[in-house]
């Protein structure tokens, strides 16, 4: 009887200790639920587990929920997640993440990555130390219907500014039955792409406060209003799906969007536009808007090595090409774009896409500053505000919005702050 009790106690102790032992190698990872990043993460987590690596649990949320979940977890000190997905919009909580430069240097991790992608202003830094590891890249692009542009006699390579696009739109609308420009106008923040690429000026003053250069900014805003006249009828509140469908169905000649959202659809067997679309560089003297998914490790993460093992498995070069082909996740590794078969298959958009990657940046704006900018630009685009008054109003509002230190660092590092 005593023997049985002892055995029972041993079994109970083992059962209690087992999760603790396993816990040392357990990682909770947050990622966007989109049928792409999350699916890839689960696939790689399973493979890593089978190979004897950390036990990674993938927690997927829609974008807005992911952002909220990450920030709440950090700020409230819940510390449920060991590794998080995010981007520059997490600037308000950068101080909760740990620097990773020692691990990057130890494993020469950045070797082979798209040049300069690990620089401030492109990936995330705090106090001169890297906190974000890139794993998925995209840059806003201008996609065009080759047949419609040919019919209208428009040379896509000649679209150097948004004013050129407006002129091209007039030609397209005169020569074809299609509308000119499609864009997810119903997502209020997306209007930023036209401003960021059209405005060639600073966002932060030499004193470290937010401000736009009024003349250049008003010109960029006026161009947006001119562009809005060339949306499809009733097209100033289109969802991503509607905007993409308008282009795919030949109802619009141009599409400004995130290429990774749409290229697979456009090249699908049943796509009406398959074989008759291409992509060119985003017009303007500013910069293409960068979408760079990065992995962050909170300060509170205890098992840093396990987190790093997961980062290397998920974001490293090993799975990059598979993630691109199977899930359309833009690879951050240069070698992916040197694959001759893929390059040939994607020749109609890869040159412009990769050129965009080299130029693309994040605006050094906090959520509050960016929301005010894009909402005000919508007022201009819809004719409810004059461009000059809008820029004046933006500068007035920005004067009371502090620049988070990490974004000040990014602005200075990426040439978006005044000298």
């Amino acid at each position: 009887m005593a023997h049985q009790r002892r055995n029972g106690a041993v079994a109970l102790g083992a059962a209690l200790l087992a999760p603790l032992a396993a816990g040392a190698q357990a990682i909770d990872f947050t990622v966007m639920e989109a049928g792409t990043y999350d699916v890839a993460a689960r696939q790689i987590a399973e493979e890593l587990r089978e190979a004897g690596g950390p036990d990674v649990t993938v927690h997927a949320f829609p974008w807005a929920v992911l952002r909220q979940t990450n920030t709440t977890d950090l700020i409230s000190g819940t510390n449920r997640y060991d590794v998080m997905s995010g981007g520059y919009y997490l600037a308000d909580v950068y101080s909760y993440f740990q620097p990773l430069d020692d691990l990057i240097a130890r494993d020469a991790y950045a070797e082979g990555m798209i040049p300069n992608l690990m620089d401030p202003g492109r990936s995330e830094w705090l106090d001169g130390r890297q906190i974000g590891i890139p794993y998925g890249i995209d840059a806003m692009g201008l996609l065009y219907n080759t047949a419609l542009l040919e019919e209208a006699g428009v040379d896509p390579e000649g679209l150097a500014s948004w004013a050129d696009v407006v002129a091209a739109c007039e030609a397209i609308e005169a020569a074809t039955e299609a509308a000119c420009l499609s864009h997810p106008t119903g997502s209020p923040e997306q209007i930023g792409v036209f401003f960021f690429s059209g405005y060639d000026g600073p966002y932060v003053t030499a004193e470290g406060t937010y401000a736009l250069e009024p003349g250049a900014a008003a010109k960029a805003a006026a161009d947006i209003r001119a562009l809005w006249a060339h949306l499809p009828p009733g097209g100033n509140a289109m969802s991503f799906d509607e905007a993409h469908a308008a282009f795919r169905d030949g109802q619009a000649a141009l599409l400004v969007t995130w290429p990774s959202f749409v290229t697979n659809q456009l090249d699908a067997e049943d796509s009406p536009i398959r074989g008759s679309w291409a992509m060119t560089a985003l017009p303007g003297e500013g910069f293409p808007w960068l979408s760079l998914w990065q992995i962050f490790v909170p300060e509170a993460t205890a098992d840093r090595e396990a987190a790093w093992t997961w980062i290397k498995a998920f974001a490293g070069p090993e799975n990059a090409t598979r993630n691109l082909v199977e899930h359309n996740i833009g690879s951050v590794w240069a070698a992916t774009y040197e694959d001759p078969d893929l390059a040939e298959e994607r020749a109609h958009f890869w040159p412009a896409l990769t050129a965009g990657f080299a130029e693309a940046k994040n605006p050094p704006l906090s959520g509050e500053a960016q929301d005010f900018l894009t909402n005000t630009l919508q007022e201009v685009a819809n004719g409810r505000m004059e461009p000059e008054a809008a820029i004046e109003s933006i500068n007035a509002a920005w004067a009371s919005i502090p620049v988070p230190p990490a974004l000040l660092e990014a602005a200075r590092g990426s040439g978006l702050a005044a000298e």
Binding site: Q68, T71, I75, D92, V93, T185, G186, S187, P188, P232, P233, G234, G235, N236, A237, M238, S239, E242, A245, A246, S366, G367, E368, D371, F372, N375, T376, Q378, E379, N382, R384, M385, S393, A397, P402, P404
Partner: protein, 312 residues
């Protein structure tokens, strides 16, 4: 009788043991304590904490601890913010518009479906559907209906050869659309309460009026409406206060746009508190919204009391 006997027996036992009964006030207090503690922890303490935060400087992204005492500075900042005052104006318009629409439609539906007939009950049950759908789903459904290019409403209008407005892209139409969506969802609530009020009307008074030759319109204007007015005003108060806090349908249909056109107070507070982490500003704005809701409720209750005095 048995209860009284048992109570008397217990009192006798206590008297014999020399135990004096507890005063009623103490017994009452003892029973109230758990409820008061619960209310204090879940309601009063968070409210007091939020009021305290509103008097300090605290942006969570800058510091994990509350900053210095700033008095009413956050309230002044909120009230001088153009976006907040714009949101306040739209919120009031939305609340008034949506409440008026839902009261009118709810009362009309109640008048049409009042009665105990099985078919009427079925119709009333079917009409309740909008109210039981999650507000987020309501917004998503209406976004699909109102889409200018692919929405079902414009599809029907186009088929009839009518103009197809940009319901969510035009600032004024977007505002009207939100009022209609909110009214659509909460009209069943008005209908249910008003149907109950109509059912409770004294049948003899209505019968007497009809025997005296009063038509339906006259009976409604002179008898039905005055008798249900207090209920109507109470429902109006609930609807108005609820509409002042609208957030879900804004998030799912317009995102506060186009531009700033459909930003409501709750949206503004959500943005400040949970997106920008300006906790003290969000707390101050929340207290202003609370004061507004209290003010509106108090006015409606006052008006209801006055209306009740006019009743025959």
């Amino acid at each position: 009788m048995v209860t009284v006997a048992v109570a008397d027996e217990a009192a006798e036992r206590r008297r014999r043991r020399g135990v004096r009964p507890l005063p009623d006030g103490l017994v009452l207090g003892a029973f109230l304590v758990p409820a008061l503690v619960l209310l204090g922890v879940t309601q009063f303490w968070p409210l007091a904490a939020s009021f305290g935060i509103s008097l300090h400087d605290w942006t969570l992204a800058r510091s994990p601890v509350m900053g210095e005492f700033v008095g009413a500075a956050n309230y002044a900042r909120v009230l001088s913010d153009g976006q907040f005052t714009g949101a306040l104006g739209f919120t009031l318009a939305l609340a008034l518009g949506s409440t008026a629409l839902s009261l009118a439609a709810g009362l009309a539906l109640a008048l049409l479906t009042v009665g105990e007939d099985g078919r009427l009950r079925l119709v009333r049950a079917l009409l309740l559907f909008p109210m039981v759908i999650a507000p987020v789903a309501v917004g998503t459904i209406w976004r699909m209906i109102l889409s200018a290019r692919v929405g079902t409403l414009n599809g029907m209008l186009g088929a009839l050869g009518l103009p197809q407005p940009n319901w969510l892209g035009d600032p004024m139409l977007a505002r009207i659309s939100l009022a209609v969506i909110d009214a659509w969802q909460w009209t069943p609530f008005v209908m249910v309460v008003m149907a109950a009020a109509l059912t409770a009307l004294p049948a003899d008074v209505l019968r007497a009026a009809r025997m005296d030759g009063a038509g339906r319109a006259l009976v409604f204007r002179r008898i039905t409406l005055p008798l249900i007015l207090p209920t109507l005003m109470l429902v109006g108060m609930f609807r108005l206060v609820d509409a002042l806090m609208t957030l879900d349908i804004v998030v799912t249909t317009t995102g506060g746009g186009p531009g700033f056109a459909t930003q409501t107070l709750s949206w503004w507070i959500y943005q400040q508190g949970l997106r920008y982490f300006n906790l003290s500003v969000a707390a101050a704005a929340s207290w202003l919204l609370l004061a507004l809701c209290f003010g509106v409720a108090a006015l409606m209750l006052l008006a209801r009391r006055r209306a009740a005095r006019w009743l025959p």
